[in-house]
Subunit: 226 residues, 2 copies
DNA sequence: TCTTTTTTGTATTGATCGATACAGAAATCT
DNA sequence: AGATTTCTGTATCGATCAATACAAAAAAGA
């Protein structure tokens, strides 16, 4: 534990949180080194000594985001007694988080790096994998609800997970456009209004055609080059 | 009509279309002058002589996008006999357009410039205004449906418009993540499943609390700085 | 105290950004 | 033809990008 050289003059965790806020507000490519070092209160050599590179710093910032902001949004998914309650709380928590005063609007994982621009292919791919993991989390919750009898056997868990993930992604855009908390909560209520329709469309023969997009595995994807 | 100097050696409309595709695929900040001039087949002085600046070129590209790609998505809103049919066709056309082979996934107006980065505040504001106009288009269609008796008097047109716009925005993210056409169509069906719930929640007294976000006017918006 | 190790601040690197200066080329007008 | 006007290609502008070289500074180990 004995550390040898000159001690670091800043708190690494605090600096990382500042960096996360900058990336959150401006995105990966929009956040310049000058923005980051300015917010972190350090010079660029200290940043590179402590975090390695801008991309590595972003990776740590996203991980921190998932551990802090993300838990408030996602904790209800496994904890709620029913899938319906889980999704309702998930969407409500999203509305609250995306309109939290003093914090950037929307989601870092959705808005952080959409376009894969040469130097940010790795960053974009990481975020995309996280989004795919989130869809998978929703899908698994629906699967559980089917096993528990809350949802009918023919229920299309993948389609439902994709639908609610899509709504949540759209809420990031709405938040960025200045939607107030009430507007986001209204969107959440609208999405919950789809619940009965989604369940009833899973009749014995009327199972809606599935939505591919398997979470893992290299399925046939078109989409962007990130 | 007689033009004086040396004639332009390229087709301005063709070059603009190429620029639109570059902006569409890479976003405003992600598209460099080298990307643009390379795709347009001209040198930078010709670009500046013909379009003025990168920002002005983007403005023309967005306008062209609205006149070409946009019409396929939005034409059903005024033309369909009922609001329900209008929204259904609108979402289906969105799913088709966002997964069209040979074209970039998602929507230029949604993905073109989300973060307002210093030099792109004007660009970001323009896109935001277009998105607000789209929400207003949906809201006006719902209002018409109320007047025509298709929807009950207590129907919250603003909330419904915000909800369906949010779903469509989320579909851009899904498309960027590689969602195939079937997956996007499943999202559209999911959103339509919300219809009955939205209508029935507009009971004589149970009108859901409104979603602010007026389209024009400087209401109290938090949100980003663009 | 002296060496070793690590961090810090200053200054700078090559690359790329959007945007132009300039001169030659190609058209119309007188 | 000669003057005028506009466009084209080359070459480059200052600014900013992410990333470092370097030496002084501040700690522990010998």
């Amino acid at each position: 534990m004995a550390e040898r050289g000159r001690p670091r003059s800043f708190d690494r965790t605090v600096a990382l949180r500042r960096a996360m806020e900058v990336f959150w507000a401006k995105g990966y490519e929009g956040a310049s080194l000058a923005d980051l070092t300015g917010a972190m209160g350090i010079n660029s050599p200290s940043l590179y000594a402590a975090f390695g590179s801008k991309e590595a710093l972003f990776g740590e910032a996203v991980a921190l985001y998932g551990e802090t902001e993300g838990t408030a949004i996602w904790h209800a998914i496994p904890e709620a007694p029913t899938a319906r309650e889980a999704i309702r709380r998930f969407l409500e928590a999203t509305a609250e988080a995306f309109s939290a005063p003093g914090k950037p609007p929307g989601c870092l994982i959705v808005l952080g790096a959409l376009h894969a621009g040469e130097a940010s292919t790795g960053v974009c791919r990481d975020l995309r994998a996280r989004r795919a993991g989130n869809v998978e989390t929703l899908r698994a919750r629906f699967e559980r609800a089917v096993l528990e009898g809350e949802l009918p056997m023919g229920f299309d868990c993948t389609a439902a997970a994709t639908f609610y993930a899509t709504v949540q992604h759209g809420m990031s855009i709405q938040a960025l456009d200045g939607a107030a908390r009430e507007a986001l909560l209204a969107v959440a209520r609208g999405a919950m209004a789809a619940w009965d329709g989604l369940v009833s469309s899973a009749g014995p023969r009327g199972a809606p055609r599935g939505a591919p997009q398997e979470a893992s595995g290299a399925g046939t994807q078109r989409g962007s080059d990130c």
